[in-house]
């Protein structure tokens, strides 16, 4: 675990005997363009996500985790490497990978809550209207919004909008659910509630989740496996198991130790919570 290369070798050898990985990201390098320059976001990042994993991409800003998620979503093409879902290379956006964004405006404001959930089902021609409606109501019930099916998004609170987005994603029954800091725009209490609900939903539905966050604690709580990315450009620093943690482990000794280990891996051993870091450990605690 001391070097990146060893980490790669280890995960490759593990995955070689059960060939069941749902998502394979293989040495993916990504670049994005600004008007002035082309910026390398990630450099040869590899990882594998198994079915029913809650796989978290964690790193400070600038580690390319959101870009990586967009690439898995098919919104950008890697300049090197390969992303395969169920063995097929990802080339363009598609309804088998539904993204839940951070922004609240991901819900078309001209559709009611129910229509919002039905929208991808109809747009992708997955289901007929009647079946789509039935399924939308089912998943809206699951996220506790049965009473608000005919409300318009602008009348909902931030947490409720996040719930609609999650119900909409689940209703599509995608092969993998991609979440790009879905709770980052919520207040701390609502965020905690949403994490709890997400875990409950996972217990029930067992979807496969790829979750991007910059909060160490959110990663430990939500994920069962965490990929740590170093910034500028994003490279794999470590992969860590976190299936043993949930919301009740917050503040526990083992939880704190793992959090500190992650912090050390991300920000270097020598400086404990350096103030110059964009994301000090202390900040993460408070932000939680």
């Amino acid at each position: 675990m001391s070097t990146v290369l060893q980490g790669h070798a280890a995960s490759a050898s593990v995955s070689s005997f059960p060939p069941t990985a749902l998502l394979q990201v293989d040495k993916v390098s990504l670049e994005y363009r600004t008007p002035q320059r082309v910026v390398r976001a990630t450099h040869e990042v590899s990882f594998e996500v198994d079915p029913a994993d809650r796989f978290v991409l964690l790193g400070p800003s600038g580690c390319g985790k959101s870009t990586l998620l967009k690439a898995v979503g098919g919104f950008m093409k890697p300049i090197g490497g390969d992303i395969r879902l169920d063995g097929a290379t990802v080339r363009e956006p598609g309804p088998d990978r539904i993204v839940v964004f951070q922004e609240f405006d991901q819900l078309p404001p001209w559709k009611t809550v129910k229509e919002n959930v039905m929208f991808p089902l109809l747009a992708s021609r997955t289901l007929k209207r009647a079946e789509a409606e039935e399924r939308a109501l089912h998943y809206l019930g699951k996220v506790g919004l049965a009473k608000f099916v005919d409300a318009y998004p602008h009348t909902l609170s931030g947490g409720m909008k996040a719930r609609v987005a999650i119900a909409r994603a689940l209703a599509m029954q995608p092969k993998i659910l991609l979440m790009d800091e879905p709770f980052a725009a919520l207040d701390a209490l609502t965020r905690r509630k949403m994490q709890e609900e997400l875990l409950e939903l996972w217990e029930e539905v067992r979807f496969t989740l790829l979750f991007v966050t910059h909060s160490i604690e959110e990663a430990l709580v939500v994920g069962n496996r965490i990929l740590l990315l170093s910034p500028h450009p994003g490279r794999v620093r470590a992969e860590i198991n976190s299936h043993q943690f949930d919301l009740h482990s917050l503040g526990g000794v083992q939880f704190q130790q793992t959090a500190q280990r992650i912090h050390r891996l991300l920000f270097g051993e020598s400086e404990p919570a350096a103030s110059t870091d964009e994301l000090g450990f202390a900040d993460v605690r408070i932000a939680y």
Binding site: V99, F101, P108, F119
Partner: protein
Amino acid sequence: MTQSSARRQEYEIELPPLGDLPLHRDVSFGQRLWQQGWLRKTLILVVLAVVWEVAARVQGNDLLLPGFLQTAKAFIAGIGSGELPVKVWVSLKVLIKGYLIGLLLAFVLTTLAVSTQFGRDLLSTLTSMFNPLPAIALLPLALLWFGLGEGSLIFVLVHSVLWALALNMYSGFLGVSDTLRMAGRNYGLKGLRFVGYILIPAALPSILAGLKIGWAFAWRTLIAAELVFGASSGQGGLGWYIFQNRNELYTDNVFAGLAAVILIGLLVENLVFATLERVTVKRWGMQR
């Protein structure tokens, strides 16, 4: 800090039931009445009519300025004799034809503009060339090309509607958030379906503004064109009605014709566009 917090005792309060404390109350009748837009607008119209009538009485020359009552009488007489409705209908028919063609062309141009670089350049070049060009200035040319008739009227109408509408539509499309675009692409929407399901509803506030501006431009252009070259194929519209009555010094009829133009403008604005806004952008919380 620790001292100050220790100095004060902690406490907990059991919350007793509130009883019958009213949690909301109704707004007073006067305020509710004042919230009715039509009432406020009617009041404005009444005040304007009174000012007009007083000004006319003070001035005392109904060849120059007939009063409100006189105009109303002429208007009712015009309606009664069937002359005014016929003229209005002739004008409206041409207007709607030109408006719809302009709308269609604007849609084609902006759809091209959002999908290709060439379309973008085409639209921006054409709008910057033709938008400042007054439609009336094209009338002599139109008369040469299409002759004295509906054709040239429709030509100038399309010219006056198209650029204003296309500009608004396009800026509306540009304003659609990336998140919403990605959500649409995520569900497999492409090309015309993407424009129809995502861009048009998301840009509807701008499109409606463009439709309103286009409607006003079209009316203006049409009346002016009719005033300039009068009857087309033996049947004149409202502009012709105004022009003819001015020649015969029936000033009250001139005012009745102008009143008809204004009334139609008010009706379309307050019935058609206001209703459209109420059931769409206002309902969706996209516009206050």
